[in-house]
Amino acid sequence: MSELTTPHAGDDHAADTDVVSLLMRQHGDIRNLFDEVEAADGEERRDAFRRLVRLLAVHETAEEEVVHPFARRGLTGGRQVVEERLAEEKAAKETLAELDDYDTDDPKFIPQLLKLRKDVQEHARAEERYEFTHIRRSTDSANLAAMAKAVKAAEAMAPTRPHPGVESGTANMAIGPLAALMDRTKDAVRKAMDTG
């Protein structure tokens, strides 16, 4: 096995001037974290799972605040496309909430995680194929860049990788304050969109 780590979207040296590329790389980051949770156990699994939940929360919130509203307004048939994506997100959040009831070492945890993984992966590909392609086609590079900036602002608000000195804080954070995290993310995105 190679020791290479792929940095998260935003942490690599990509120009990040296109919201679609950025979100597609983030879809990969989420998939990587699912791999990590599945492969780990004990405290490591707990930690990887928390990082996964945070990234999912930030990613989905940023999409709901940045790209879905644009798609709804800007695309022909956009309302329908976005309704379908939101329904998928809602289903995934419900699975996530059920998952929250188990300890990561609970035998029921992995089957539930695999269900979530399947939902999330199908949702991500549906976005890429039915929403993102149309977004790229129907807007200019300035707008793609502005949306990328807003998504990055969301991440800065809620770092999804432990930064030096805050590992224990991250590790101790239960999934409980997820709603608060989503609210903070929303605020950050809105602020970035206003000033962008």
């Binding site: 190679s2 792929t6 979207a9 590909r125 890429e128």
Partner: protein
């Protein structure tokens, strides 16, 4: 093992048609499947596509309406088989992740065939080609990490290494130098015919896949890389198809195709780890046995010869997907600097090769080199999977 497909009867043709419900197969799970199950699916799809296209060509060269009708009946079943096999691939997989699996097929299938090939000239042709597929895997793996932030290792799972082969920019040869000398149909080992058909079909499917899916990407580097490697697949199809003796009659070729399908379905059935997929290999084997008998009848009728005269008396050892790391490393160590001249191989860049290189590159770095530069700018390193240590060639080690 003694499995002689000529002595087995399969499912009668008029009972082979499947309904929508039966065609609607459950795809494999891209994140948890056996990587070699995915390889078998991709390889078998290539075989079925070749079966369909060969039958179409034969039909276009056939005058008798009743023969055309019989070809159409079998071909429709082959088309259903292709649908079932290729639809085992999951919709959630991206084109690029499927591409990496295609290159894993190319590496491990070609390397295995090279190891088992009895004819030294044919063996050389596979050894030459596999070092190019190996380099394609490495280039696409770097593109994959750039676009999807995923590692090729999550697809190949350490079964196949990912590192430089013969550099892709050097694969662009004068088309004349891609034509090899064919085996002699009456002298060659029956296994050699099956090998040539298998690799030709696999490379042809890869060519078709890249030529059709490449433009679905929006990222300029992805579009360009698919264009470049797509053109090398054209060279590979030329290379491998020229190994097959063109003196084989149409009917003899049809028999070889059907026999090869029996061989491969039997092989895959023997080694398949996924029970649902294994059931498909078994069912399709039982269909192919009947296709083989029908083809044999056509050969007897039209060529006035016994199919036994061109076929092996029993199936060769099963064709196996397994790691070939040590073998590929040996080739990397000894054959990296080869190119072709006429129907042979040379170590020096000759005039015709240089001319082609000059024209196609136009003084610029090709997409296969630029993808590495762009990847380096994004991550400050390359993407490789070297499970067995450093690259055998010191000049190809990561700086």
């Amino acid at each position: 093992m003694t499995f002689n497909p000529l002595e087995q009867r399969g499912i009668p043709l008029d009972r082979q048609l499947r309904s929508w419900r039966e065609l609607n197969v459950d795809p494999i799970d891209p994140d948890h499947c056996d990587p070699y199950t995915r390889c078998r699916v991709i390889a078998m799809n290539g075989i079925e596509v070749e079966a369909i296209m060969f039958s179409h060509q034969l039909a276009r060269n056939t005058v008798a309406p009743e023969v055309k009708q019989q070809l159409a009946r079998t071909r429709y079943i082959e088309a259903q088989q292709q649908k079932v096999v290729n639809w085992l691939l999951p919709g959630v997989a991206s084109v690029l992740e499927t591409t990496i699996a295609y290159e894993q097929v190319a590496v491990d299938l070609t390397a295995w065939v090279a190891r088992m090939e009895p004819d030294p000239q044919l063996k050389q042709a596979y050894q030459f080609g596999v070092l190019e597929d190996f380099d394609h895997l490495y280039r696409y793996a770097n593109l994959y990490e750039m676009i999807e932030h995923r590692k090729a290792e999550s697809i190949v799972e350490g079964l196949t290494e990912v590192m430089p082969g013969r550099p892709t920019r050097l694969h662009h040869r004068d088309p004349v130098d891609n034509v090899r000398r064919p085996y002699a149909r009456d002298e060659t080992h029956p296994l050699s015919k099956l090998h040539a058909l298998t690799i030709m079909a696999a490379e042809q499917q890869t060519m078709n896949f890249y030529m059709n899916t490449g433009p679905t990407y929006m990222e300029p580097i992805a579009r360009q890389l698919y264009q470049e490697i797509g053109l090398i697949e054209e060279e590979h199809v030329t290379h491998y198809e020229s190994l097959v003796d063109p003196g084989e009659t149409w009917w003899e070729q049809l028999v070889n195709h059907e026999y090869n399908e029996c061989y491969l379905y039997y092989s895959f059935m023997e080694q398949e780890s996924d029970p649902k997929v294994r059931a498909i290999w078994e069912l399709h084997l039982n269909m192919e046995l009947e296709h083989l008998h029908l083809a044999c009848d056509l050969m007897r009728r039209h060529d006035g010869r016994e199919p036994e005269s061109v076929l092996a008396s029993e199936l060769p050892d099963v064709l196996t997907f397994e790691p070939n790391k040590r073998y590929v490393r040996e080739l990397l160590d000894t054959q990296l600097d080869l190119t072709t001249l006429g129907t042979g191989y040379v170590r020096d860049a000759h005039e015709r090769f240089e001319q082609m290189q000059e024209q196609i590159h136009g003084g610029e770095a090709p997409p296969s080199d630029r993808v590495m530069v762009e990847h380096g700018a994004m991550f400050g390193r390359e993407y490789r999977v070297q499970t067995e240590g450093d690259h055998p060639d010191p000049s190809q080690r990561e700086k």
